[in-house]
């Protein structure tokens, strides 16, 4: 219930007009500069995609050697993909890891809830933390990295894990290791091929530092996946 009663008399309105308006704008701009990343408007341009765009980008991650993905996100990196692909993965990990346990032990079926916080921490740290680390290292090496493009890249590289998680339902140990290794190779190749453009700004030796960081984080992710979530269940 808004009345919007104006209590100013005419004289006060005159005085207000003479108040320097430019100072107010400058103050606002400074505030926008430092704390801009805390507002919603800062992130709105990164959600400028439709569902067909998202599906095309996910398809682009499955064939890493074709440079389709960079052309798809050029100029329009999005944050929707990274956030919600990881959320879907958290759900799938919890569902399938628990389903495996339920099928195995009929007597004491215990539901493991700790997969949810573990999966959340793992996925979001790798998907958002690694680009931050890479940006820091590249800055230290003297080159700028396009930050949101790398976050977008990392987020979509997690979509390799979507079919892998569903396939991890099967109990065959060898099969699981095979698909984990395939996933690791696929996503590492995808990341390196798409980071090549950024890496070319560096010298040869320094490139290997970045490639080393990328590969190490992917290795950590996939090993964690196999050893914690889908470890060998004794019959």
């Amino acid at each position: 219930m808004d009345f919007g009663i104006q209590n100013q008399t005419d004289e006060q309105k005159q005085a207000n007009k003479e108040y320097p308006i430019q100072n107010n704008n400058e103050g606002n701009k400074n505030q926008q500069g430092y704390c801009a990343f805390l507002t919603i408007q800062f992130y709105t341009p990164y959600f400028n995609v439709t569902e067909t765009d998202v599906l095309q980008r996910i398809q682009g991650t499955f064939l890493p050697l074709r440079p389709d993905f960079l052309n798809l996100i050029r100029g329009n990196p999005d944050l929707w993909g990274p956030i919600w692909i990881n959320a879907t993965l958290i759900f799938l990990i919890t569902a399938i890891a628990n389903l495996r346990q339920i099928d195995e032990e009929k007597e004491n079926q215990s539901f493991v809830i700790s997969y949810v916080p573990q999966a959340t921490a793992l996925l979001y740290i790798i998907a958002f933390g690694t680009p931050i680390i890479l940006a820091g290292v590249m800055k230290f090496l003297g080159v700028d990295l396009s930050f949101f493009q790398t976050i977008c890249l990392y987020g979509y590289s997690m979509s390799t894990l979507l079919p892998i998680t569903i396939l991890c339902y099967f109990q065959n140990e060898l099969f699981l290791w095979l698909i984990i290794v395939y996933g690791f190779a696929n996503s590492s190749l995808f990341l390196i091929v798409n980071l090549k453009e950024e890496l070319d700004k560096l010298q040869i030796q320094k490139k290997y530092i970045i490639i080393g960081i990328v590969v190490t984080m992917q290795l950590a992710l996939y090993l964690f996946y196999k050893l914690v979530f889908f470890s060998y269940v004794n019959k």
Binding site: S110, F111, I113
Partner: protein
């Protein structure tokens, strides 16, 4: 410059005329005082009533809003009701769901389940609403959290059904029914506020949210 002011508090309505012309401000200020005094009488009468009456009134409002949200008829009355958002309803349903699931016999980590469900519901609602806002939807933040929380109620029912029945396929059928009910209500509310081409991007998180909760209700 005159306009009429009407205030509805419960079944009483107070009317007053407020004149913005500065010359008659004083006279009108007295009328405003009379209006405010009448409001004061309303306020003090709610302060003096018994706790039971207050609680019952709040519960009745929660019940009314629940009916608005869950019986998906898109009338303008519904929309007006939903604009008075409150977070008591979501809190009650969240606690009920977390308690039901943590006390069922199929697990040995009741506290972990309670904490996870609680955090999941609130942070999930927060993130889903934020997502809808970032995609350009004109959705008020707390109103959306309120509606998402109220739509958790069918999943509550599903969790209670899984406690009562033991035949797995019957449980699955009931929980799927509750999931579809929740999702249909929440989607019906949110899809009006999102631009056309980004609709699925905004609705998929809602579906994922209720899928996650229903799956918990079924398996735990």
């Amino acid at each position: 410059m005159e306009f009429e002011a009407q205030e509805n508090q419960g079944n009483n309505s107070i009317q007053g005329v407020i004149n913005l012309d500065p010359q008659v401000n004083q006279v009108q200020a007295q009328q405003q005082e009379i209006t405010i005094k009448q409001t004061d009488i309303q306020v003090s009468s709610t302060l003096e009533e018994s706790v039971a009456v207050t609680l019952l009134r709040d519960l009745r409002q929660i019940g009314v809003k629940l009916r608005c949200v869950l019986v998906p008829t898109m009338s303008s009355n519904n929309a007006k009701e939903l604009r008075n958002w409150d977070l008591w309803g979501p809190l009650i349903f969240c606690l009920m769901l977390a308690l039901t699931l943590s006390m069922s016999g199929n697990n040995n980590d009741g506290t972990g389940i309670f904490a996870t469900i609680f955090v999941l519901i609130w942070i999930g609602s927060f993130v889903v609403t934020l997502n809808a806002q970032l995609l350009g939807g004109k959705v008020s933040f707390f109103q959306s959290v309120c509606v998402l929380g109220y739509c958790v109620f069918p999943i509550n029912l599903g969790a209670l059904f899984t406690l009562i029945f033991s035949f797995f396929y019957l449980k699955m059928f009931l929980v799927i029914g509750c999931f579809l009910w929740s999702t249909y209500s929440a989607v019906g509310f949110m899809k009006l506020l999102i631009p056309e081409q980004k609709r699925i991007l905004a609705l998929y998180p809602v579906i994922l949210f209720y899928l996650f909760l229903s799956w918990f209700a079924l398996i735990v």
